[in-house]
Amino acid sequence: MITYGLLIVAAIYLLAKWVFYHAYKKKALTRSQIDSALVDRLNMAEGSHAD
């Protein structure tokens, strides 16, 4: 029974992995978007700490 249990766990893991990968693909960012997002976050942080 443990064998079947482990195989079921493996199947669920595979399914979860596919869901995550699919989500990555769906919201796939280009390197330019990642770059702009970083610059925006840094400038927001800078703005909130402006002296």
Partner: protein
Amino acid sequence: MQTKLAVQFRKNRRTSHAFERLKTCKKCGGYSVLFDNVCKQCGSRDKFIPVTEYASAMNRIMPWAEAFGAIALVLLAVASAGTLQHLAAAVIGGAAFLFLFFLLRKRYKPYADTYRLHRLLIDHTPAIWRGLRADLQEAVQDMDAAKPKEAYEKLREIGHFLRGEHVKVRKIDCLGRFFIRKDMELELEEIVPASFRQDFVLYLWEAVKVNKRLVRQSVLDYVVAYRYEIAAMEHGKDILTLVAGAALRMKAYVQRYPHFIVDYLDELPRERFHRLCKLMASTPAADRGRLYERCKELAKTRYGFDPEFQGLF
């Protein structure tokens, strides 16, 4: 008045994206964008690696960890098989699982790698910001120590990330201390301030004199917005004429700023005016306005004798 300095800037690194300039300390996780190899946070020497290299290492390690987990799961299933039927199920099921697991990973690898890089930069944003603040502090110390070249080179690197007024103003302050030459790698669009600044306009004048390509839309928007303040400056008209002449580089700018250009037509050098006339001559009749009429009139009265202007209109 401060004496201007003749300087040779350090060669600017070319990167496709700003984050490629970031380097992280392997020992303490601190960040920097400057050139020295000593970590300001922990004092370690030669411990910096580019953040892209760090992300690549993560992208190598994480899949291996996952693969070991998957293989361990299959081996556990095989080891726990009590009967031959269970063993067969474990072997076949495990093989199918591993095949699908590696297939899935191969197919989605580029997306997973990009996502991990994005997550890494999100999680490390506070550390990156602290590193940039420390770099900025160093640049300010250089300015205070009358080392404008060193300060500017640091600010130029920091400016790829922090684009606030305080960075721009410091850059303008430094640039105002140098003799501007054609062989320098100059920036203009990146340092356009939010309000009128005489020192920026003076730098703009020097920079556009040596490189007209620096005049882009944000620069033109600034000049048009503060044209009366600039006109009131010494050499104000020369500056505005120079910028109007540089705007003729692109037809889109001529179409966007005709009211600005038309006011400096009389002062434009012959070569610039000829370029404008050529642009105007190719303008469809429906889009012709005051600028076209003024060009036509001026070409006739001032350059009527010049063969290059004949038959343009």
